[in-house]
Symmetry: C2
Subunit: 292 residues, 2 copies
Amino acid sequence: MLIGGVEAGGTKVVCGIGNEHGELLEHKVIATSNPTETLNAVFSFFAEHPIAALGLGWFGPLDLNPERSSYGRLTSTPKLAWQGFPLLDTFQARFPVPVGLDTDVNAAVLGEARWGAAKGLHTVAYLTVGTGIGGGLLVEGRRVHGSMHPEVGHLLVRRHPDDPFAGHCPYHQDCLEGLAAGPALAARWGTPAEHLPDDHPAWRLEAYYLAQAVVNLMLTVSPQRIILGGGVMKHTALYTDIRRQVQTLLGGYLQHPGVSEAALDPFITAPGLGDFAGVRGALALALDALRH
Amino acid sequence: MLIGGVEAGGTKVVCGIGNEHGELLEHKVIATSNPTETLNAVFSFFAEHPIAALGLGWFGPLDLNPERSSYGRLTSTPKLAWQGFPLLDTFQARFPVPVGLDTDVNAAVLGEARWGAAKGLHTVAYLTVGTGIGGGLLVEGRRVHGSMHPEVGHLLVRRHPDDPFAGHCPYHQDCLEGLAAGPALAARWGTPAEHLPDDHPAWRLEAYYLAQAVVNLMLTVSPQRIILGGGVMKHTALYTDIRRQVQTLLGGYLQHPGVSEAALDPFITAPGLGDFAGVRGALALALDALRH
Ligand SMILES: Nc1ncnc2c1ncn2[C@@H]1O[C@H](COP(=O)(O)OP(=O)(O)O)[C@@H](O)[C@H]1O
Ligand SMILES: Nc1ncnc2c1ncn2[C@@H]1O[C@H](COP(=O)(O)OP(=O)(O)O)[C@@H](O)[C@H]1O
Ligand SMILES: [Zn+2]
Ligand SMILES: [Zn+2]
């Protein structure tokens, strides 16, 4: 049996074919454009492979409340061509098989919890730190939606006393994303994040802000593991710096063995599935859709 | 059929007898003291009533992981007489009936979601603002535990520019609890919170800090409703002030009809069960224990 998975982000779409164990057999990367072009490319990828179920991990905001008539549509998005697009219906019309749908970040956290860095855990957060900051959340085995799309990127953080930068978020200026996403780093320092040297003061501030997001997640949903991915985390020294800052910020309040610098099984970690977390998670959504 | 529920907080214990609909038929309030005295009083209350199931909403920290040998015990608590106390085993030995156990705040959120201000909702947060600040959380119908007890009281908030107070938390100084719990207000202003006049500047700061906790919960777990209870919220003007500050802090980012000041069905609200949220929630735990 073959199943399909699609992870769609703002810049690229990863289509994958998997087997009944959710292993990725084949995949293709497509640039994200308007709905017609993007879906034509996705459909033609799957045309060659008869799939028994499909999972979609899509950029948001999506209506994920099955009780609403707008269920499965994109809602208000700055990508105007996608606004209101009936994503689920369009796929369902093309593929008369069970289709599972969630956000790209919830697909990523699901993939990681099933086969990656959080294998076997039930309460897991996934933060992607890239062009924006987004988060996926699994609580007691369930993907979290609530009444709005969780938008962890806009968490209010404490500004570092050494940071005079006004912030880069159009809504809040100095929220987490406004201080710590890739474009904020570029605007703050005048250099793209990937060109900032290892000893640049940017990284200490970056760890300070991301550590606050980690601490606030620990204090609200207390995940068993927090996975940090996305382009900015390619600066891998951040993992150690963030762990250290988390300990400082907690001030000895919570003891968590995985937070110590010497932890064998670190609480704050990189995606185990690397760039395939999202598409593997989409395969997991397909398998779950098949079962229900 | 009769069932029993106990809500145990740091200062008082509420014991209740309910029927199969979770309605409270009779209750008794006992002062919290050491385990022997406290449980003797609880046991003698229930001695007169044959119960078919029991629910316990107890102050923490509790080990709530059924896979650990310390499951159902109190862990490290400043109440030294209770440290390591085998709560669940002690009750289970006395009452050979199904026993459900959770924290007092999770019992409260469960009670509110079943019969109170969040009736029928699946993702709900409950914050109690009193001697400390604690939180209970229901996500997609499940009570949240994660790998540690969620300690939402110690969220890191942004200090208000007009607030020079160092903060009152022994771990973090100016975390949420260190700035906004009852004792922090008393230390900050030299007057118990209940004696601060309505036009005192304390309330603007208080709303600012509590609004940040609300916003961070909205951005992480996006509850369908946030219930604020506890002694400090007896200053009911806080509800309107917090709603207003939440809108300011969100900066138009999230639109939620219930957050507006004119909302008929407010997103930020008082407990519908008043002081009985915890004991009613304990009855819900008893009913759930009976079913599983
Ligand atoms: N090695 C690196 N170190 C730090 N930042 C990087 C690195 N590589 C890419 N970035 C930053 O990551 C961001 C892109 O993140 P990415 O997750 O790849 O994209 P997107 O969020 O659009 O999916 C850019 O802002 C870029 O500057
Ligand atoms: N009307 C009121 N307005 C503001 N604060 C109050 C009021 N009544 C009590 N408080 C404060 O609430 C706190 C006690 O909270 P409560 O929830 O009753 O107790 P606990 O947290 O110990 O269970 C005290 O710090 C007290 O100053
Ligand atoms: Zn923002
Ligand atoms: Zn604290």
